[in-house]
């Protein structure tokens, strides 16, 4: 299985090359594009990026593993991220996490994350990256039904 960018993404890559003083700056944008395209970053994608940027495979791999949002395994389920940091915890994030585990654990991968910058809407979670704030069991049901 080899990796290549779609035609649309290949055009994007070409335009990105003009925006940075060195090709190396494209590591994060290219990893993001690969993940958007395939839902995760495969070894083949890392090889492709490494060859394209003329950087060691290990460099790309080490960058990909440093950032928590990059997924190196193909996700089996949709992702829910529940914020667990202080303002959310003070407003009941633990209950929200249990409610999700008990009712939606089969259909979603439910993980806890650190502060998402939504403290005024605590407790909060994201579903497929989209923010949902001021959560209650009822509002969660409406989002997830």
């Amino acid at each position: 299985m080899s990796f290549s960018y779609t035609q649309e993404n290949t055009i994007k890559v070409a335009s990105l090359l003009n925006k940075y003083p060195q090709k190396k700056a494209l590591v994060l944008p290219l990893l993001w594009m690969a993940q958007k395209q395939d839902s995760f970053i495969s070894e083949d994608a890392i090889s492709h990026i490494s060859e394209f940027l003329n950087l060691e495979y290990m460099h790309i791999y080490s960058v990909a593993t440093f950032y928590t949002m990059f997924k190196l395994q193909k996700p089996q389920k949709k992702l829910i991220e529940v914020c667990r940091t202080l303002s959310c915890e003070l407003n009941g994030s633990e209950d929200i996490k249990s409610y999700l585990d008990n009712n939606y654990g089969d259909d979603y991968e439910i993980i806890e994350v650190e502060c998402m910058g939504a403290c005024s809407g605590a407790p909060m979670c994201t579903v497929d990256g989209k923010y949902h704030e001021n959560l209650t069991p009822k509002s969660l049901d409406e989002v997830l039904k």
Partner: protein, 410 residues
């Protein structure tokens, strides 16, 4: 008590679109901008006393001067990696008034003779970053940006991918160069930051968004707000056990308790105030008893043993467990340590684990001693200020709420 400079357009419907932005004064500072020489703009920013609004509070004008004076291709990098727990203000600017940020970037680039700007937005803020990108596209169409503009500026959004430490400016630049977000060693004498070896200015979103007001109205108009040493306003934020959590702009120097009562609507459920973490998780906690005369400015909070930080207050009510709160924060530090320096990587990990024993009420006297000693080892012995911040957090909780920790010792 609310004073709107940066947040002036936040509540106007469709404030993020070019049409509404133009109707409400956006880009009108460019006329005053181009009438002046770049150095005059830098002088105005210096006179205004504008301080960095990302947490550090360094004087912006001085940073601009250093970048301006350094030879090379100049870059302006906007730090939108907002990840400090309790802080959610920059997100408002990105999604509610992106044209104000773009206007500020144009002025900043003009002042320091840069034509290229990057906005580093935390990966989680994708939907807000999309709004910003649409605004940038509109600004190109209207020739505020790009080759057709009066002064050429190109703006590129660079998406982070989930690493708190990339909010540290040198880690941010490492990330922007395509590396792991590891902070760099700090210089002994003043120098700019460097992007691929070229002189670079890194400023927070809100700092840049404050620039158009100063360019248009002058330094004195900005100094009319706030205090002598902390002039102007800040997008203070309030969350936790509070009735009206949110972002509300106010002058520096207002009373913290007034802000909590009058703007934040007081502690939730009629409970008593126990403590406030005043400026994001990295600022030491303050017990209610110390807050009588506390003012929301850099000097006042420093004088009572904490810091203004990002101005993002987390309110803890009388029922809050301080052991649990510290555990929450140390888990955060453990998770977000970049792992580069041993005292931080090991210290944040061990202090997090020790707190588990306190939470289970199975701690020993020795655990408390180890916690204090780990805190000491983390302070001042690492490349960046992440570990010293964790250390300050531990010391703050132990100084003011030691009794609660002693209750957890068997």
């Amino acid at each position: 008590m609310i004073t709107k400079i940066v947040s002036k357009n936040f509540e106007i419907p469709n404030s993020h679109t070019m049409e509404v932005a133009l109707e409400n004064g956006r880009y009108s500072s460019l006329k005053s901008l181009f009438e002046k020489e770049p150095q005059e703009i830098i002088e105005t920013i210096k006179q205004s006393g504008l301080r960095g609004k990302g947490g550090g509070g360094a004087l912006a004008g001085n940073k601009w001067q250093i970048v301006n004076d350094w030879d090379g291709t100049k870059y302006v990098v906007v730090n939108a990696d907002e990840s400090e727990p309790g802080t959610f203000k920059d997100r408002r600017i990105l999604s509610l008034d992106p044209h104000l940020l773009i206007e500020g970037i144009i002025a900043t680039c003009y002042a320091v003779s840069s034509n290229i700007s990057y906005i580093y937005v935390r990966g989680e803020y994708e939907e807000f970053s999309d709004v910003l990108q649409a605004a940038i596209d509109e600004a190109y169409e209207k020739n505020f940006l790009g080759n057709g503009a009066k002064y050429k500026v190109d703006i590129t959004i660079h998406r982070g991918a989930g690493a708190y430490i990339c909010g540290e400016k040198s880690a941010l630049l490492e990330s922007l160069e395509g590396n792991r977000g590891h902070p760099r060693l700090k210089p002994h004498s003043p120098e700019p930051e460097f992007y691929f070896g070229e002189p670079t200015l890194v400023n927070n979103v809100e700092t840049i968004a404050s620039v158009p007001f100063i360019v248009q109205n002058g330094a004195d108009a900005y100094r009319a707000y706030g205090t002598e040493k902390s002039p102007g306003t800040l997008l203070f934020a309030i969350s936790g056990n509070i009735n009206k959590p949110g972002v509300y702009e106010a002058e520096f120097g207002v009373s913290m308790l007034d802000y909590i009562e009058k703007i934040g609507g007081g502690v939730k459920n009629g409970k008593k105030l126990k403590a406030v973490i005043p400026g994001g998780a990295s600022t030491p906690v303050l017990p209610a008893g110390l807050l009588k005369d506390a003012k929301l400015d850099y000097e006042s909070l420093k004088s009572i043993g904490s810091a203004l930080g990002t101005g993002g207050m987390i309110i803890l009510d009388e029922d809050a467990s301080m052991v649990k709160a510290l555990k929450n924060l140390l888990r955060f530090y453990h998770h977000e340590s970049c792992g580069q320096c041993t005292p931080c990587r090991e210290g944040t990990s061990w202090s997090d684990k020790i707190l588990d024993r306190f939470l289970a009420k199975k701690a020993t006297k020795e655990d408390l001693n180890i916690l204090r000693s780990v805190s000491k080892t983390m302070n001042g012995k690492t490349i960046c200020v992440f570990a010293p911040a964790a250390s300050g957090v531990i010391d703050g909780f132990l100084e003011h709420f030691e009794a609660e920790f002693l209750e957890c010792i068997v």
